[in-house]
């Protein structure tokens, strides 16, 4: 860190032990944590507006997004569609192909099956890169991992578009209770964690019904018996109930036991998915014939049986969980870890938990509390959190003002870096701490990506010439500092500074030698991208 940066505008008298962030650092800090880094000119815009005013405007989602975001989203024709619509389109293609598909039909079908999934991944990327409402984007990113689903499981790929658009994006700055209820009732989550299958074991009568139906259909007694055997296996599925307590609300083994998991799962039986082809919808459906009746004891108190409206039983479970102090603490801890530091101090977590508890998980109030918390502004948390691969890729594109026309290389990079979008198999979501990502080996992928991006070698992605427009016309020695000021919030470290100096000298020397020969590329075209690549791959840029 440059001493000069520390001193600039610092309110602290010389010799003061507690250093405070300067105004510029504060803006950069907020843009690192409540945004995926700055875009060209953003620091200045926020400074003019005032940081607090910018943050409040962001909480209200009143930021302006550039035209490029609207253009890119307009290209994604499934992004605006319902799950039912997406499935219907697929069915049309299946019918069109008929029962005897040729190789080219299979290719077509595969493309159709992957279309919504791929466009969803693109929509996530484009929003993160270009959205003018970055606080919303970081909050959505948090909840996308908190309420993780993966497009690699069954039909989730068709349901996830709605999930992202109508639940996560709509609710990330709303209330936690709304999010919990709507994720619980979303086809994506119902399918991902199997709750749509969870039901009371079939009665003898139902088993007989199954036998009759299958015998009539297949004319085989054996087949009917087999179907009955299978039906007998159906019953309670505790997958969602467990993750609801462990991952979505209380935290692992906090306040609850195995029997609570079972009681929660029972209360949620009958929460399943219905598909209405006529109205093109796939939606939540409560089926009382799948529901396990009777009162449930949960966390030491009783959820009464509500015969008239048994779906209320599950809703009451969710409501209790939202109000539980364990949920407030667990969410506060996760949010502090996400926005402040890998290992947030307990007193800070408790301050945030209090706000969460008091407001029933009003996300604007909670995020505002984090923003105003003294721990958030602690200089030791400035540019010290390791970027997840997603944060690294998105912030690199933002800081260089890159124009993204094709996302193919980005998804590939995220895959190699082990964080492909909507593909975390584990219901935990992707981890956000350095220890999960800083494996020896994988940094080299970031370096390659940095170099390719900087030298415009990635097809469909370009750093515009305007990014380099303000570089000094005749003094390449200062380019490094000009670029570092744009790209590294905490400034350039000594080591990086020295290495870049040496490289500048070397390139200038080489340029002079070329001059004697025939062709030469302008220095700016050679040196500036090289410096950008090195800065993107530097240890400084890996942190936020």
């Amino acid at each position: 860190m440059q001493p000069a940066l520390w001193a600039q505008g610092s309110k602290n008298p010389p010799g003061s032990r507690v250093l405070e962030l300067t105004e510029t650092q504060k803006i950069r800090h907020v843009l690192s944590r409540f945004a995926f880094g700055p875009t060209p000119g953003l620091v200045e815009r926020v400074r003019r507006q005032g940081l607090d005013a910018w943050f409040e405007e962001q909480l209200e989602c009143k930021g302006k997004s550039p035209q490029i975001l609207r253009d890119r989203l307009a290209d994604l024709d499934t992004w605006g569609r319902s799950a039912g619509d997406i499935l219907l389109e697929l069915q049309r293609i299946r019918e069109d192909i008929g029962p005897d598909p040729k190789q080219k039909d299979r290719v077509r079908l595969n493309r159709a099956r992957n279309l919504a999934r791929n466009q969803l991944k693109d929509a996530v990327l484009f929003h993160a890169i270009y959205s003018g409402n970055q606080v919303l984007e970081t909050a959505v990113d948090f909840f996308r991992n908190h309420f993780n689903v993966t497009v690699n499981k069954g039909s989730v790929r068709y349901y996830a578009t709605e999930y992202e658009r109508d639940i996560l994006r709509k609710g990330a700055l709303g209330s936690f209770g709304w999010l919990l209820e709507h994720t619980a009732k979303s086809p994506a989550m119902l399918f991902y964690l199997d709750n749509y299958l969870s039901r009371r074991p079939p009665s003898k009568q139902e088993l007989k019904g199954i036998e009759r139906r299958v015998r009539r259909r297949t004319k085989s007694r054996k087949r009917a018996e087999e179907e009955v055997e299978i039906a007998k296996q159906r019953g309670l599925n505790e997958n969602y109930g467990r993750e609801l307590l462990e991952l979505h609300t209380l935290g692992v083994d906090n306040y609850y036991r195995q029997k609570d998991v079972i009681e929660v799962a029972k209360a949620l039986t009958g929460w399943t998915i219905s598909r209405d082809r006529k109205n093109k919808t796939v939606s939540f459906q409560f089926r009382s014939d799948m529901h396990i009746p009777g009162p449930k004891t949960f966390l030491g108190s009783v959820i009464p049986e509500i015969k008239k409206n048994p779906v209320r039983e599950g809703e009451m479970v969710l409501e209790r969980l939202v109000k539980h102090k364990g949920t407030a603490h667990f969410l506060a801890w996760k949010l502090c870890r996400w926005f402040i530091a890998d290992d947030p101090p307990e007193d800070c977590v408790q301050r945030i938990a209090k706000v969460f508890h008091k407001t029933n998980g009003e996300m604007k109030a909670v995020l505002r509390a984090i923003y105003h918390d003294s721990e958030f502004w602690n200089p030791k948390n400035f540019q010290t959190k390791f970027k997840r691969p997603f944060e690294f890729v998105v912030s690199a594109l933002r800081v260089t003002g890159a124009e993204v026309r094709s996302t193919r290389a980005l998804h590939r990079a995220l895959k190699v870096l082990s964080e492909p979008i909507y593909e975390c198999e584990d219901p935990t979501g992707y981890y956000d701490q350095a220890e999960a990502w800083n494996d020896p080996g994988v940094l080299a992928v970031r370096w390659s990506f940095a170099m390719q991006l900087a030298t415009n070698k990635i097809p469909g992605i370009r750093i515009p010439d305007s990014f380099y427009a303000d570089l000094h016309p005749s003094l390449p020695q200062v380019w490094k500092d000009q670029l570092a000021r744009k790209m590294l919030p905490a400034g350039i470290g000594d080591k990086t500074d020295k290495v870049l100096d040496a490289i500048i000298r070397k390139v200038i020397r080489e340029q002079k030698e070329v001059r004697a020969g025939r062709r030469k590329k302008p220095l700016k075209k050679v040196l500036a991208p090289l410096l950008v690549g090195l800065l993107l791959g530097s240890p400084e840029f890996q942190k936020q």
Binding site: K222, F386, P539
Partner: protein, 436 residues
């Protein structure tokens, strides 16, 4: 469950960070004195391939004589009689056959260097990918507190007490380590496509991350420093710089290995697994003292359009069998001390579903190939696929615990005389399967 995982990761990273990866590291022996018998000059090699998603056991080793095979799988069964292109079930015993995509295994089968273990799996009933994979890679079904991989436990158990282990005792040919290799013993992950192509990038970033005197390169083949060196350098505390330096050192070494490895004429099939195996073979052929290597292959979760003679499963089987055959050929005489083992978290439903695919099941298949394998024979008891034989009325039953195979490979092949009691929690190795 998740917290303990993190704790383990943390201690792992601290350790690698503190000692510098791929240097000599002192690894504390968790299980007391080393129980490894005197190592032979060239150590045995174990390559573990994890087929993630659940390989369809019934279309892998096929019960072609059972009438249910065709009736349960009207669209995805493999015909017993040769079709136009001459392909059909490869009958290797009077009851069981191989999927035709696995034909590359036939020469190994005839040479008695290949054997499948059938109806192998976990005693735990889970049909969840993440649980089943966790349980298998930690070799601790149902124990959610165990968070070190079975191979990592083996490495820690047999580590040199003076910290003189080879720099590359174990590696994974992928960006992040599989769970079986996670734990306290430091293991290096090689991201795809980085084995040889990043020379220039490494030189550039070498200067940014290396603690050396600004000059990239250094003496190739030698690690730039022994334990403890560089401890006083600036930025030493920064784990990013540490990881970067470890990355550079290990990748340099890797590139050097790639150059050192004698040219190979062996042709591998094209595909993600085969290229990983090729990378591992290069390390071994370069004379590196590699003992354990892992490679993952995702995408075996064939819920729909699994295919029959042609299709997804066929293509993937061709790559598995062709890749393993090429790998062993590539190793030459080193194949005599190498066991390649495939595993998968579970098999799939015996009946096909409505999408010409299969759903999560229970009993699965393991392949073992290589010099020490007592091949030409099918291991494990075949439970049958008649409606009454099935586990929960739908899946191939498990007759062999996957830990029986693991324990046997560690004991008979890797030379681990005594397996400590807590090595496989809640499990005592039995008399073994007999496959190695």
């Amino acid at each position: 469950m998740k917290n303990s995982k993190k704790m383990n990761r943390r201690s792992f990273l601290q350790r690698t960070g503190a000692a510098g990866l791929a240097l000599g590291f002192p690894v504390p022996l968790r299980y007391g004195l080393s129980t490894l018998e005197r190592p032979p000059k060239k150590k045995p090699i174990l390559v573990v391939i994890f087929l993630r998603g659940g390989q369809d056991a019934v279309n892998t080793v096929i019960p072609y004589t059972e009438p249910e095979y065709e009736s349960f799988r009207p669209t995805i069964h493999i015909p017993t009689k040769p079709q136009k292109d001459g392909r059909s079930v490869l009958r290797i015993t009077p009851e069981l056959g191989l999927h035709p995509g696995l034909s590359a295994f036939l020469p190994l089968w005839k040479a008695k260097r290949f054997a499948p273990v059938v109806a192998v799996g976990s005693p735990h009933p889970t049909r969840s990918h993440f649980d089943a994979q966790d349980f298998m890679e930690y070799a601790a079904p149902g124990f959610r507190t165990v968070r070190s991989g079975w191979l990592n436990r083996y490495l820690a158990l047999t580590a040199d007490r003076d910290g003189k282990d080879s720099h590359l005792r174990a590696l994974a040919m992928q960006g992040l380590l599989p769970r079986s290799l996670r734990g306290e013993y430091p293991v290096f992950a090689v991201p795809r496509g980085l084995e040889g192509k990043t020379g220039k990038v490494l030189d550039l970033f070498g200067e940014l991350y290396e603690s050396g005197k600004g000059k990239a390169g250094g003496r190739s083949g030698q690690m730039s420093g022994k334990k403890g060196m560089g401890a006083t350098r600036e930025r030493e505390e920064d784990p990013v710089v540490q990881a970067g330096r470890a990355t550079i050192e290990a990748l340099r070494r890797f590139q050097e290995i790639q150059k050192r490895a004698p040219k190979s004429q062996v042709k591998y099939p094209r595909g993600p697994l085969a290229s990983k195996l090729q990378g591992i073979a290069k390390v071994i052929r370069a004379g590196e003292a590699l003992e354990i290597a892992c490679a993952d292959w995702n995408g075996w979760d064939h819920h729909a359009q699994e295919g029959s003679l042609e299709g997804k499963l066929d293509r993937m089987h061709q790559e598995v069998a062709g890749g393993i055959l090429a790998f062993l050929q590539d190793l030459g005489e080193d194949a005599e001390r190498t066991v390649v083992m495939t595993m998968t978290e579970f098999g799939r439903t015996v009946r096909e579903n409505g999408n010409s695919g299969t759903d999560h099941g229970h009993g699965g298949t393991m392949f073992l190939a290589g010099g020490p394998v007592k091949g030409g024979k099918i291991y494990g008891k075949w439970p049958g696929i008649g409606a009454k034989d099935l586990y929960q009325g739908r899946d191939l039953a498990v007759t062999t615990d996957f830990r029986d195979v693991m324990a046997e490979v560690l004991r008979k092949h890797m030379g681990l005389r005594r397996i400590p009691r807590d090595f496989f929690p809640g499990y005592r190795p039995g008399k073994g399967v007999g496959v190695v």
